[in-house]
């Protein structure tokens, strides 16, 4: 019984992790400019990675390596916003204008 609950919990966690990573991939493909894409990148970093790592932790059970998954998530949470900020800032400083609704309506080509 416990085993089957754990199995299904792992399936559900992985499915949601995959779903959010999929949404993030769709966002990276569909959104119009680099600033908007950076938003969805943080989706893969947070819930996508978080839920998948939770599934891994559940599968490994109560052992030393499980601590690693928590550490992994911690470092992902600390470093990735820094990277996203660095990318966005470099885009701003190299003069890439953010896409807005107005620029789309005026028919400006990006």
């Amino acid at each position: 019984m416990i085993e089957s609950i754990r199995f299904w919990a792992i399936i559900v966690l992985i499915a949601f992790g995959l779903f959010f990573t999929f949404v993030s991939a769709m966002g990276v493909l569909r959104l119009p400019d680099v600033y908007a894409r950076a938003h969805t990148a943080s989706q893969a970093d947070t819930l996508g990675a978080g839920l998948a790592l939770a599934a891994v932790a559940l599968a490994l059970g109560w052992q030393h390596a499980t601590v690693y998954t928590v550490l992994l998530l911690f470092f992902v949470f600390i470093t990735n916003p820094t990277a996203a900020h660095a990318i966005a800032r470099s885009a701003a400083e190299s003069g890439i204008d953010p896409w807005t609704k107005e620029s789309e309506e005026e028919g400006e080509t990006k």
């Binding site: 569909r30 119009p32 938003h39 969805t40 989706q43 820094t82 620029s103």
Partner: protein, 345 residues
């Protein structure tokens, strides 16, 4: 001949006493009559909890300095004015300090600033332009007091107990990390871990912490940070769902906007925590952070509303300053938010 007027900005440094002495002495050499304006510029808003303590300290410094002036002048013809600057506005770093001094100087017809070479405008000054350059920029003449000061590095490293605190904290952080990766029950890992943590703490302690540690506050902050994490995760989950719905809609109803937010969070680590949390929440992305002015790119209107409600800002204030400090008005109510046009930043 009209009285010579000088402006002396004060901050709590080791050379402030000498600076006041120099201002009085040189002033009396140039003119018969001297008017000394002592000012303390407050980086904090006076009405905030953590600002009140600083306001008290500033008032104390002013009255001490006024006594020093009378002491140095002896029976000389001298008048003293003391003022607190920045009680009704924010001062963000050297530029604002310089312009506040300039305004004050114009108002009181002052031509010269006597500057303490150790003068620190605000808490996060090291990375910004120096106050001297900013004074040049606003065109205010200044005279740097020739003070004798102890070697600089000693002042930066701090005194013995502070040094020990940093070593102690870094040693246990790195030892803990080593043991998490290794095996905490195996004697070999315990010994090598202690050696590695020792090397790390001795060589890196003075660059790891850019702020003084507090024996009581720092552990409490760590605990409060532990409370903050679940809250942050909850915010992230909410934002993730909102953004997912938007991205999966075929019409892609996004409304990207650049906004500016003046955060009432000060200093390196609290600002880092706030900016990282904002970026980690899908829908908001910090593009630039100039001290407290954050340029934030928001993807959908609801994310923008959440940002302007300032719940993350309040939570970060809770982590670093405690429960009372968390109860402040939201950025929207303070008028600290602004929607920038798409093409300028």
């Amino acid at each position: 001949m009209a009285a010579e007027r000088v402006l002396v900005p004060l901050s709590d440094t080791v050379t402030v006493r000498q600076t006041v002495g120099y201002a009085v002495q040189s002033g009396l050499e140039r003119a018969d009559e001297l008017e000394v304006h002592l000012v303390v510029a407050l980086p904090h808003e006076a009405d905030l909890i953590e600002g009140q303590q600083e306001t008290e300290a500033a008032k104390e410094l002013l009255s001490k300095a006024a006594n020093w002036v009378r002491e140095d002048a002896g029976s000389g013809p001298i008048t003293v004015e003391t003022t607190l600057l920045g009680t009704d506005e924010y001062l963000f770093g050297p530029r604002d300090f310089a312009s506040a001094f300039d305004d004050y100087a114009r108002e009181h017809d002052i031509e010269l600033v006597v500057l303490d070479p150790e003068y620190q405008p605000g808490a996060t000054a090291q990375m910004l332009q120096s106050i001297e350059r900013e004074l040049d920029a606003v065109g205010l003449a200044y005279d740097e007091a020739p003070v004798e000061r102890p070697a600089r590095h000693e002042r930066l490293v701090g005194d013995g107990t502070e040094r020990f605190d940093r070593l102690f904290a870094l040693f246990w952080i790195s030892y803990g990390f080593y043991l998490i990766l290794g095996d905490p029950t195996y004697w070999f890992d315990l010994v090598t871990g202690a050696a590695v943590a020792g090397i790390v703490s001795v060589s890196l302690a003075h660059i790891t912490f850019t702020f003084p540690l507090d024996r009581i506050q720092s552990p409490i902050r760590t605990l409060r940070f532990g409370l903050y994490v679940p809250y942050l995760i909850w915010e992230i989950v909410k934002a993730n769902l909102a953004i997912s719905i938007v991205i999966l809609r075929p019409s892609l109803p996004i409304d990207p906007t650049m906004t500016r937010l003046n955060a009432r969070v000060r200093g390196g680590l609290p600002l880092l925590a706030l900016a990282n949390s904002i970026t980690l929440t899908p829908g908001t992305l910090v593009v630039r952070g100039d001290d407290q002015r954050l340029i934030v790119h928001t993807l959908i209107p609801s994310a923008r509303e959440d940002l302007f409600d300032g719940s993350l800002e309040r939570a970060v204030r809770f982590v670093f300053h405690g429960r009372e400090a968390a109860a402040i008005a939201s950025p929207r109510e303070r008028g600290d938010t602004e929607i920038l046009g798409g093409d300028e930043q």
